[in-house]
């Protein structure tokens, strides 16, 4: 996706003051891709393992999974999670997955 296409997609998306999507239901994989690009993260298959799991959990429970649940349930371990989502995986992964600011402590 070109930078231009990315910024066009993001122009149509509403964000809250902290940079999280205002409406998680409006998220699409293309929007996720564009948000990642704006955070200088190139998404790989391993990122998508986390993103898809987070979206599944959100669809099922209405909230983002904790990092502990991600590392316990998927095959992505803590070290890899931090490498995939620099700058704090709780925040970065939630932003890219279009989910609300995480409130869990673990």
């Amino acid at each position: 996706m070109t930078i231009e296409a990315t910024s066009n997609i993001l122009e149509t998306v509403q964000f809250d003051g902290d940079g999280y999507m205002a409406d998680p239901h409006a998220w699409t994989p293309e929007i996720g891709e564009a948000i990642a690009q704006s955070l200088n993260i190139e998404l790989t298959d391993r990122h998508w393992v986390v993103i898809n799991f987070a979206r599944q959990e959100f669809d099922a429970n209405g909230e983002a999974p904790t990092l502990r649940r991600i590392t316990k349930t998927t095959d992505v371990n803590t070290k890899e999670l931090y490498a995939l989502f620099p700058g704090g995986p709780a925040k970065t992964a939630a932003k890219i997955s279009g989910l609300e600011k995480p409130t869990g402590c673990i």
Partner: protein, 160 residues
């Protein structure tokens, strides 16, 4: 409060080794790393139990001199000395910790280290307790208080 890279930084000094005092530094360090804040941990005096291989898996809750046993039940100090009281309180707290999906102390420490926190044992306390680096969990380093404070330059320092 920033380190040289422009990131916020936290330095936690952990001085108590009972189970209820071991959790806060670990929870705070993990929360810091999850939200992109750098965080190092310095374990001193009884806090060393948290990173000592032989002790870390068996930390206890003290029922004596602990007037706030809520939410389980209140144990008057005079009752707290009865054998088995501490074990019962420890068992209950471990159960509650598990319910909240917090890992047990050894796994929690490993998680925090995997998340990028550096873990240090206080050299002076270790000398006093006849501990060497081999007694500490893998990955932990031994450091003097002055050196830790040097590392904590421009960090927010928390004493637990």
């Amino acid at each position: 409060m920033e380190n040289g890279n422009g990131n916020r930084k936290l330095s936690i000094i952990s001085s108590k080794g009972s189970l209820d005092m071991a959790m806060p530094p670990l929870i705070l360090a993990n929360a810091a790393r999850m939200s992109g804040i750098d965080c190092d941990l310095f374990f001193t005096f009884w806090g060393l139990d948290i990173i000592t291989k032989k002790k870390m898996g068996g930390l206890n809750v003290s029922t004596v001199g602990n007037p706030n046993m809520h939410p389980w039940f209140h144990i008057p100090t005079i009752m707290g000395v009865i054998p088995g009281m501490s074990a019962a309180a420890t068992w209950m707290m471990n159960r509650e910790i598990e319910k909240l999906d917090f890992p047990p102390v050894p796994e929690f420490l490993e998680m925090v280290m995997d998340a990028g926190s550096c873990v240090y044992g206080c050299k002076m306390s270790m000398d006093m307790m006849k501990l060497t680096k081999d007694d500490l969990v893998e990955g932990a380093e031994v450091l003097g208080a002055m050196e830790f404070l040097e590392l904590s330059e421009n960090a927010q320092v928390l004493f637990v």
